[in-house]
């Protein structure tokens, strides 16, 4: 437990500092009130709006742990959202629509996984294919328009509330917790890390790297499907042009802010999810603070750079060094005083 906290400390500190910073510009940031049995407040909005990136970050953490990357998740979201909206508006009902959407996500993952694990295409290039083609596929399903639906059960996924909290929040928390348990209560997490550190060595040691890699990309597809369902349900329509647009980059950023190495190996899902919360806190914070739109990206970039610099190994060693020097100095001064 102590180890986990120590691992998450930089992200938690960054998040806390950020919240303090936003509170300076918008004092009511932490205020939460109860309205018709649901919690309302900026923090609840952060928890709700970070759902797509948090869901993607869970899958992306695994993919990156295998030394891979998945650029196609935004397009996969668009496909899955389109599939679900199409099925619902065709009258198939929510369970079938969800199954079809998740099936589409798994299929996208299977495609990426096969390209990476069997054909041996570099993950960046392999997933770039679906990133480019995927949005076209989604547009074919929606016929280029925003496919709207009125099914209240599906809309509930995006804007409903359960025990006071928004549904999207429950979804990403469940996925993050269950995936972490699956990874850490079994040897699965360890095997994935082994592939990321040295695929050949792990294969020689008896890890079935091909199957595991495909499974990891399919897990990513599953997460992307859920994210696609959430955003589609949220606006009650599948927007093939814009659903999940550039979210793959936010997801990768969340993983990086979470302190996970893009070179694979050790990973922490919790840290990535906190990374997603950090990104969303920045976005909502900028809006509440009322800065003009022109500054949004600049402020976001500056904050992200500061967070990443503070977390960098170089900064860590320097910091450690200065702290030691300070301690030595104090000790020496103490001795002299005696």
């Amino acid at each position: 437990m102590h180890g986990t906290l120590k691992r998450l400390a930089p992200q938690l500190i960054a998040l806390a500092t950020l919240i303090a910073l936003v509170s300076v510009f918008y004092p009511g940031f932490l205020s939460v009130s109860l309205n018709d049995g649901r919690l309302v407040g900026p923090v609840v909005d952060v928890l709700k709006r970070s759902a797509p990136v948090a869901l993607l970050a869970v899958g992306m953490t695994l993919v990156i742990a295998t030394r891979g990357i998945d650029l196609s998740v935004g397009a996969t979201m668009a496909i899955c959202g389109a599939v679900a909206a199409y099925a619902v508006s065709a009258g198939y009902g929510l369970p079938v629509a969800m199954l079809l959407a998740i099936g589409a996500g798994l299929l996208a993952g299977l495609w990426n996984g096969c390209l990476v694990a069997i054909v041996g295409v570099q993950p960046f290039v392999a997933t770039l294919i679906l990133m480019t083609a995927g949005r076209g596929i989604a547009q074919l399903i929606t016929e280029g328009r925003i496919l709207t639906f009125t099914d209240p059960a599906f809309a509930f996924l995006g804007s409903g509330n359960l025990l006071g909290l928004p549904m999207p929040t429950w979804i990403w928390i469940c996925v993050a917790v269950l995936t972490t348990l699956l990874m850490r209560r079994t040897a699965l997490g360890l095997l994935i890390e082994a592939i990321g550190i040295n695929r050949r060595a792990s294969a020689l040691a008896g890890v079935n790297a091909v199957v595991l890699l495909i499974a990891v990309y399919m897990a990513m597809g599953f997460c992307a499907a859920l994210a696609g369902l959430v955003v589609t349900a949220d606006i009650r329509g599948a927007d093939a042009n814009n659903a999940g647009l550039w979210l793959e980059l936010d997801a990768i950023l969340a993983v990086v802010i979470g302190g996970n190495s893009l070179l694979g190996g050790r990973f922490s899902i919790a840290a990535s999810v906190i990374g997603a919360l950090i990104i969303q806190t920045i976005s909502i914070g900028i809006r509440l603070a009322g800065f003009p739109s022109e500054y949004n990206l600049l402020i976001k970039a500056v904050l992200v750079v500061v967070i990443l610099v503070l977390q960098s190994p170089r900064f860590g060693t320097e910091w450690h060094y200065w702290r030691q020097q300070l301690q030595f100095k104090r000790l020496r001064e103490g001795k002299i005083a005696k």
Binding site: D36, I146, S159, G237, N241, I284, S293
Partner: protein, 319 residues
């Protein structure tokens, strides 16, 4: 030599003018792509218009690439079409291909977007005045609100894009002189439904749960549709508690207006081909050179303008 060329071009002009009333002019249309519902509707309406007037339309989808458009234009010129319609994907880089069209005596009409080339290289441009659209929206709101104090929130389009800049400017002009109307929040919603909803949630938070907001102005209908959902989820009545005015006139906003959840929209008509064909016909008939810019009407629709009927009329256009 020069004189010779002049003579030939005069002859060509005479021939093409003579053929003007014959059925079946061939029109080449280079469309940007189908990135939005509006663009799809523009394509549908151009096809309909051409069919109604008995033209043969050669359609080319550039899929957002200028090189595809230039290739399409060259192929139209090689085929010797009677006129070219183009919705240019970018503003620059058209000089040489437009020059080629001019040398081939093929009139070119720009649809919806402008180019940076010399105006002598094309016959005319048909488009909407974005500033005017914003102004119409602003004036409607000023009239609807009257003398009451009104705090307005604004959902901007993509930061730095010309519709966002011009529609903001126009709206500010429209409400100028009404000191009771103030824009208290203005943020980008990137022209999308999901961001429109998300940003509206933030507006509602910072404006006392939305109770302080009197009106929403969105730079396009899609953001307004997203915002309407956010307002409903916050327990307020869009259209009553918060007045909603936006621009574009896509089918879904008419549905919202029919349900009383939106108040007004300013049309950005996808029928750019109609005025373009009118100008071409006049040009063919007696060489009337139209003005270099033909402004389409920015029509205002409110709940009183039979929104349910407008929805039915528009939903099949491919929006």
């Amino acid at each position: 030599m020069k004189f010779n060329k002049l003579l030939t071009s005069a002859a060509v002009l005479a021939i093409s003018a003579g053929a003007a009333f014959a059925e079946g002019e061939v029109i080449g249309f280079s469309q940007i792509g189908s990135e939005s519902g509006w663009r799809a509707a523009e394509t549908t309406l151009t096809r309909n218009q051409a069919e109604e007037r008995g033209y043969q339309l050669q359609f080319s989808d550039a899929q957002q690439r200028q090189e595809n458009q230039i290739a399409a234009l060259r192929s139209f010129i090689a085929q010797g079409v009677d006129a070219i319609l183009i919705a240019p994907v970018v503003a620059t880089g058209w000089d040489s291909v437009l020059q080629e069209a001019k040398e081939a005596e093929i009139p070119v009409v720009l649809l919806d977007r402008m180019v940076d080339s010399d105006p002598s290289l094309y016959l005319t441009a048909v488009g909407s005045n974005l500033v005017h659209e914003g102004e119409v929206a602003g004036k409607w709101l000023a009239e609807a609100v009257g003398d009451k104090p009104c705090r307005i929130v604004e959902l901007q389009g993509t930061t730095g894009s010309s519709p966002a800049i011009d529609r903001k400017k126009g709206f500010e002009q429209g409400i100028a002189g009404h000191a009771n109307l103030t824009i208290v929040q203005s943020q980008t919603g990137d022209f999308t439904r999901s961001l429109g909803k998300e940003v509206m949630e933030s507006f509602l938070q910072s404006e006392n749960g939305g109770k302080d907001i009197c009106a929403l102005y969105a730079h396009n209908d899609d953001m307004a549709v997203g915002a309407i959902q956010a307002i409903k989820e916050a327990g307020l009545k869009p259209g009553e508690d918060i007045l909603i005015v936006s621009i574009d006139a896509v089918p879904d906003i008419f549905k919202a207006m029919a349900d009383g959840e939106a108040n007004a929209t300013v049309e950005l008509t996808p029928n750019m081909a109609g005025p373009a064909f009118d100008a071409l016909e006049a040009f063919w008939a007696n060489g009337t050179v139209p003005a270099k810019f033909i402004q389409t009407e920015s029509k205002l629709y409110t709940q009183a303008d039979n929104p349910a009927g407008e929805y039915e009329a528009r939903k099949g256009l491919g929006y």
